[in-house]
């Protein structure tokens, strides 16, 4: 800054006539030939780095696939997917995945029943109604919620939520799917809230103004203009939430026990696919056994589930997108 003022007083001003930027640049250009090299080379490096995640994915899928195929040599495909009985240990081991599937789907459904309404309402409040001051207070609190380790949520579900629920649901077992489902929902709220809020606050103000200028109320603007405009981002947040719930491990392992019931009764203990993987890997499954391969089959099922979720979500968000 000082230098600039100095110039302003005209002391260096005479140099202006001599200063020929065009010539300096031409001069510099001659020594800059390596630049073309980097311009060509760097994108290739970037591509290589981007390819790492692609190849990792391919690697994981291939491993899952080969081991899963090995599993289906021992256990018929139909038996696995229609079997309502899972008894992986002992003499007459039975591998039916349905108990795990219902466990995962029910816990995810409970979690989303909590996370979607609460998260979306929070997002609407933060983006459309909250004053700058409230927002500044609320957002960090939400982020703290997102930062709590899942193991903490796990024993919170086991030692606090379950006893609390038992006080008005007498039939609730000490380990059950309801309590971890709810706690998982609480864990996902910040994710849904903050991603939906981002989507809503990036809707241009001119759209809100357009609706308000027609005499719309604030609520009408929010429901009929802002949310439809932000819907693809909102749905994306739901799907990420669902994927998170499907993949969540610790909370259900701790609070839902390991009984492999095939049931739809949320007061009972159920095992999810992830909890099953924890149990079996913890129990030293010898490589090459059916038990060992069953890990991969369950993992593959889990993977296919999340993949389908993501594809459905992309389809929905493309279909509902309002271009702006």
């Amino acid at each position: 800054m000082k230098g600039v003022f100095f110039v302003a007083k005209g002391v260096v001003h005479e140099h202006d006539q001599n200063l020929n930027v065009r010539e300096i640049i031409q001069e510099k250009k001659k020594t800059k030939s390596f630049n073309n090299y980097t311009e060509k080379f760097i994108p290739k490096i970037l591509f290589g780095i981007a390819a790492i995640s692609v190849f990792t994915t391919i690697g994981i899928v291939l491993t899952l696939l080969t081991e899963t195929i090995a599993f289906f040599k021992d256990v018929p495909f139909i038996d696995f997917f229609t079997g309502t009985k899972l008894k992986p240990l002992g003499e007459n081991a039975v591998f039916g995945v349905l108990p795990l599937l219902t466990g995962t789907l029910i816990s995810t459904a409970i979690a989303m029943l909590v996370a979607i309404p609460v998260g979306l309402m929070t997002a609407v409040f933060l983006s459309e109604y909250a004053s700058e001051k409230t927002r500044r207070l609320l957002k960090p609190i939400l982020e703290i919620l997102a930062g709590i380790p899942t193991i903490v949520y796990g024993f919170f579900a086991f030692t606090f939520v379950t006893p609390l629920l038992r006080s008005f649901i007498p039939g609730l077992e000490p380990t059950n799917i309801l309590s971890p489902g709810i706690v998982m929902g609480i864990m996902i709220i910040p994710m849904v809230a903050s991603l939906s809020e981002d989507a809503m606050s990036s809707v241009p103000n001119s759209m809100r103004e357009g609706a308000l200028a027609l005499g719309a109320t604030k609520l009408e603007v929010t429901w009929k203009v802002v949310i439809p405009a932000a819907i693809s981002g909102i749905i994306a947040s739901f799907v990420l939430g669902i994927s998170r719930a499907i993949g969540e491990t610790m909370i259900v392992t701790i609070a839902s026990g390991s009984s492999k019931n095939f049931t739809f009764d949320v007061t009972q203990s159920m095992q999810t696919m992830t909890a099953y993987i924890v149990e079996v890997t913890g129990g030293e499954a010898a490589a090459g056994t059916t038990l060992y391969y069953s890990l991969y089959a369950v993992a593959m099922t889990l993977f296919v589930f999340t993949l389908i979720m993501n594809m459905v979500a992309q389809y929905i968000s493309r279909k509902f997108r309002e271009e702006y």
Partner: protein
């Protein structure tokens, strides 16, 4: 088709005539330029010769290809993926559409000012110093000089000299646009392309930019797209009238506005359409 070639012949004659008068050099020569966006034929057989140290205005109704043409002159049009170009554009005698032409070199010599002011979200100083810096000028003293010179050149120095370290977005639209002009001047280009530079500005800012263009003409060749015919009449030496991707008429601005040779030009400038 025949009309177009007639016109282009006429325009070549015009430039030859003026060349006799003041022996001005041609900086840009466009020969049989055709451009397609996908299937849409956006520019049809454009033939224009643009002189050094003159202001050349390009007028015409929306969608006539005037912005496309000016963006072709520094190959910014290539940012549209479906674009196809044929013909020649000679800049200082070299065809810029050749593959071997380094587009960065071209854009170093041919500056551009956009329709909406688009300063970087940095301080005013850094906005101006960005160009010289990427071209390897690191010396703080030289940069200071360039910044002052460019801001003076864009007639904005007095407005901003006390707040060079503030964000350029704190300025008014008109000031931002002049900062963008200063940014273009900082690397001392040869030609400055302006794509409706005043369309987002208020009348007073517009006036300032127009005065500036007159001033810059001494050192630079300026090609300006405008949808404001009065503006073209006020500031330009030559005017090209575009319609549906064709050059209908290209001549001295005085002639275009007082005695156009084509009926369509007359209709347009008298406000009968467009």
């Amino acid at each position: 088709m025949s009309v177009v070639t007639d016109k282009s012949n006429a325009s070549v004659k015009d430039t030859q005539n003026s060349a006799k008068e003041d022996t001005k050099k041609v900086v840009y020569e466009t020969k049989d330029l055709n451009l397609w966006y996908g299937e849409g034929h956006a520019l049809k057989n454009i033939n224009l010769a643009i002189n050094e140290n003159e202001v050349t205005a390009i007028i015409g109704p929306s969608g006539c290809g005037k912005s496309t043409y000016i963006k072709t002159l520094n190959r910014m049009v290539e940012l549209v993926p479906t674009v196809k170009i044929s013909g020649e554009i000679l800049y200082r005698g070299r065809n810029i559409l050749e593959k071997s032409y380094q587009v960065e070199d071209l854009r170093t010599s041919v500056g551009m000012v956009f329709q909406k002011p688009n300063p970087f979200p940095k301080s005013i100083y850094d906005n101006i110093a960005y160009g010289p810096k990427i071209h390897g000028i690191r010396d703080k003293k030289i940069l200071d000089e360039i910044v002052e010179k460019s801001l003076r050149g864009a007639a904005i120095w007095d407005d901003v000299k006390d707040r060079l370290n503030q964000n350029a977005y704190g300025l008014s639209g008109g000031q931002q646009q002049r900062v963008c002009i200063a940014r273009a001047l900082a690397i001392e280009p040869d030609v400055i392309l302006m794509d409706e530079p005043t369309s987002a500005l208020d009348p007073i800012s517009t006036l300032k930019v127009e005065e500036l263009v007159q001033e810059l003409k001494k050192d630079y060749s300026i090609i300006i797209v405008t949808h404001n015919m009065q503006q073209a009449a006020r500031i330009s030496d030559k005017t090209a009238f575009f319609l549906n991707g064709e050059v209908i008429e290209f001549a001295e601005t005085d002639k275009i506005f007082s005695n156009p040779s084509d009926k369509r030009t007359e209709d347009y400038i008298t406000g009968r359409f467009g």
